[in-house]
């Protein structure tokens, strides 16, 4: 029943460093991270915390997405990245396939719910209902599935910051079970006051630009965006030139604390190890790791120690692209899957911005320069989150 390979036929991304994959690549190459004070989100903390917003208002995004501007920004971002992913796959009319859309997000249409609540709390009969009509995570996914013309399978996953990676896994497993031919899988999240204030209560937001895997790091910067890959079966892959193969993946739980990672990163370790095992790979086969690398004391230490345990003295080039995009939460697993798959196709290793001081507990440090022409065979992408949810993906050249 479970057979065959799953290929990446295309990918699309919108983030605070670019409205499509090409713009994002240009930002990496020019060492241009996207942190700035917020222009679009309305918050009391606007001048306190830098964020990585997509540099466009809702009207502009809606015009690109072909959707009404009053819909959740999360749906607008999702539609733009999913459309780019599909177009890059070159697979033609989506109606010709048994197609699925597996999209992750963490707070659904919360950006609109926040507005609604101001009126509603003052008077429960007030507040425009259209603002909460798409509150549910699944409602956001459906707006995009409907716009894309996808009906065979539509689902939404929410496992905090690992959500997007789990969407790829579920999509791949449905293809291997013969249920679907193609799946657009990834995640989306717009910045909201809800998440900004939530992370602030945990005191893990950096007031400067975040410094992942740097000894002086003091927290993360929130970002927003969406990223999707097009997963296809062997049969569909024959019609196109896939970027690479999704060779391994694993999901494990840290089971240590609701929000913090265990000091030795047991969940991280199990996820990375499981992904390698599924791919039939050894640690030395990995040519680049796209780190979870949020920039919090806790994550980078746990992730770094788990990597050291698995890779020993042979840690491959590694970097956190969150030093450019910020932490895009439910979108991050999808965005970083696109970056990882593209890295493999183009031989790119991404830089880790703002690194200067080596972490004492680690023997390795992140890559700080953009490079092309690397002979990569296999790339790993890590996504870890609240609730102990840890996921790793491995992409292979063939």
């Amino acid at each position: 029943m479970m057979k065959g390979n799953v290929w990446i036929a295309g990918g699309g991304v919108i983030s605070g460093i670019g409205r499509d994959l090409g713009e994002c690549m240009a930002s990496f190459e020019a060492m241009r991270p996207g942190m700035a004070y917020m222009q679009h989100l309305r918050s009391a903390h606007a001048q306190t915390f830098p964020v990585v917003e997509v540099k466009a208002g809702n009207e502009e995004l809606a015009a690109i997405a072909g959707m009404p501007a009053h819909w959740s920004r999360t749906a607008l971002l999702s539609r733009i990245a999913a459309q780019e992913a599909w177009e890059r796959s070159g697979l033609g009319n989506i109606a010709d396939y048994r197609a699925g859309f597996v999209s992750a997000n963490t707070v659904g249409g919360m950006d609109k719910t926040e507005d609604f609540m101001e009126a509603f709390l003052a008077n429960p009969s007030k507040g425009k209902l259209r603002k909460v009509a798409h509150h549910e995570c699944g409602a956001v996914t459906e707006l995009v599935a409907d716009a894309m013309g996808i009906r065979h399978h539509v689902s939404t996953i929410s496992t905090a910051c690992s959500s997007g990676a789990n969407a790829l896994m579920y999509g791949a497993r449905m293809i291997r079970a013969g249920m679907l031919d193609v799946v657009i899988a990834g995640g989306t999240d717009a910045l909201t006051r809800f998440t900004l204030n939530g992370f602030n209560t945990l005191m893990i937001l950096d007031q400067q630009h975040c410094r992942p895997f740097d000894d002086t790091r003091t927290g993360l910067n929130l970002g927003e965006g969406a990223g999707y890959v097009v997963l296809v079966s062997d049969a569909v892959a024959e019609k196109t030139q896939p970027w690479c193969r999704l060779a391994g993946f694993a999901n494990a739980n840290d089971a240590y604390h609701q929000t913090a990672s265990s000091p030795d990163g047991i969940g991280n370790f199990l996820a990375m190890k499981g992904a390698l095992e599924m791919g039939g790979l050894q640690p030395e086969d990995i040519g680049y790791i796209n780190l979870h690398g949020t920039g919090t004391q806790n994550n980078d230490s746990s992730e770094g120690l788990a990597i050291s345990r698995l890779f020993g003295n042979g840690v491959p080039p590694a970097s956190s692209t969150k030093s450019f995009t910020g932490h895009t939460l439910g979108a991050s697993g999808g965005i970083e899957a696109v970056f990882s798959a593209w890295a493999l196709r183009e031989g790119i290793v991404y830089p880790n911005a703002n690194f200067s001081v080596q972490m004492k507990e680690l023997a390795f440090s992140p890559v700080t320069a953009f490079s092309r022409g690397n002979g990569l065979r296999n790339v790993m992408s890590n996504s870890f989150g609240f609730g102990g949810n840890c996921s790793s993906l491995v992409f292979s050249k063939e």
């Binding site: 204030n197 739980n253 199990l270 609240f386």
Partner: protein, 349 residues
């Protein structure tokens, strides 16, 4: 790949133990969960932070693991449409009223949709696969489908799967403004013939395994979902196709357990398809026991497993025909506002 249900746990408006021996009736526009004493399953230090969606989910999961005799499962897979609404509401209310100042972390931490599955893993010390589906009336269905895939990939696994959703004052007020509910009595809900239904909430969990043994209560044969069918005819065609893929015809179904909820438009949809496929099949309902919510199908699976295991269907569940004695096959068909249809096939084992 089919699965065997090795243990179940349910927290609902009905009694977790004596249903259907004793059926509780409600009047009004909602069926609240009769909260059990959660300290039976959860340490008091943990309870202090938990909203009801979390408590219900953790309690139901513990009941199912105990019944199955499993300490730690090989996967924890959850569905929740709304997530942890109480904590979301608390954090939003403070965010607005305190103008983003002096907010506390607990409500935010507890508000994330994966809190329930994460808490279950944390309390069990379980490092296994852990996933949460948050897709409206497909949340439980995807959790079950993911479980069936997990068992197909490795038949030695024991999987904990389930769903939880809660009503809060905010959510109920808002959903009522959408015109979803009416004041009614559960005893007469299925015959009301007017627009609107009664709100519900609850959690149900199942331990699933690929092999049958003396713990097995029922077989979970197949799950399918149908999104936005164009017409009742398309739904009927897909339902027939679902049965045939499992080697069955409509006449092989002992009982159709439908998601009828007393809303005249919604119930007419069931009626139309029933008249095309299930003219002579007895039809039962479950939403007058648990209320309407996107993961109510979890209650239906719990009820169906119980009926198959005991070999009896409560007469109070019936909306067409007589309660079948010793049913062999129950088809759960639930739809949510005509857009989300799920088919779940269970069999006696």
């Amino acid at each position: 790949m089919q699965a065997f249900i090795q243990g179940t746990g349910c927290v609902s408006a009905q009694d977790s133990q004596v249903f259907p021996g004793e059926i509780r009736h409600y009047d009004g526009d909602r069926l609240p969960v009769a909260d059990p004493d959660y300290k039976q399953w959860i340490d008091i230090k943990q309870i202090r932070r938990m909203g009801r969606a979390i408590k219900m989910g953790v309690a139901a999961s513990h009941m199912s693991l105990e019944a199955a005799g499993i300490k730690s499962p090989d996967a924890i897979i959850m569905g929740t449409a709304y997530g942890c609404l109480a904590d979301t509401g608390v954090f939003l209310q403070k965010l607005v009223s305190q103008h983003e100042d002096m907010l506390t972390p607990t409500a935010f931490i507890q508000s994330t949709h994966n809190t329930v599955a994460g808490q279950i893993a944390l309390l069990l010390g379980c490092h296994a696969y852990n996933n949460t589906f948050v897709h409206r009336a497909f949340s439980l269905e995807n959790a079950l489908q993911d479980s069936l895939l997990m068992l197909a990939e490795d038949p030695s696994r024991k999987i904990l799967a389930g769903a939880t959703d809660e009503i809060t004052e905010y959510s109920h007020t808002i959903l009522r403004r959408f015109g979803l509910y009416k004041n009614a009595s559960t005893a007469a809900l299925q015959r009301s013939g007017t627009p609107g239904t009664m709100a519900g909430e609850g959690a149900a969990f199942f331990v699933l395994a690929s092999g049958k043994d003396d713990k097995s209560l029922a077989q979970l044969t197949a799950v399918d979902m149908l999104y936005r069918p164009a017409s009742e005819q398309e739904t009927a065609d897909r339902l027939l196709d679902f049965l045939r893929r499992n080697g069955l015809e409509p006449k092989d179904i002992s009982l159709l357990l439908s998601g009828r909820n007393g809303d005249v438009t919604s119930d007419r949809y069931y009626g139309t398809v029933e008249s095309r496929l299930f003219e002579s099949t007895p039809v039962a309902a479950f939403k007058h026991f648990c209320g309407e919510y996107p993961t109510a199908s979890a209650f239906a699976v719990w009820m169906a497993a119980g009926c198959l295991h005991r070999g009896a269907v409560p007469q109070e569940a019936m909306v067409k025909g007589d309660a079948p004695a010793a049913p062999a096959r129950i088809l759960v068909w639930n739809h949510h506002q005509g857009t989300h249809h799920s088919f779940i096939l269970l069999e006696k084992c």
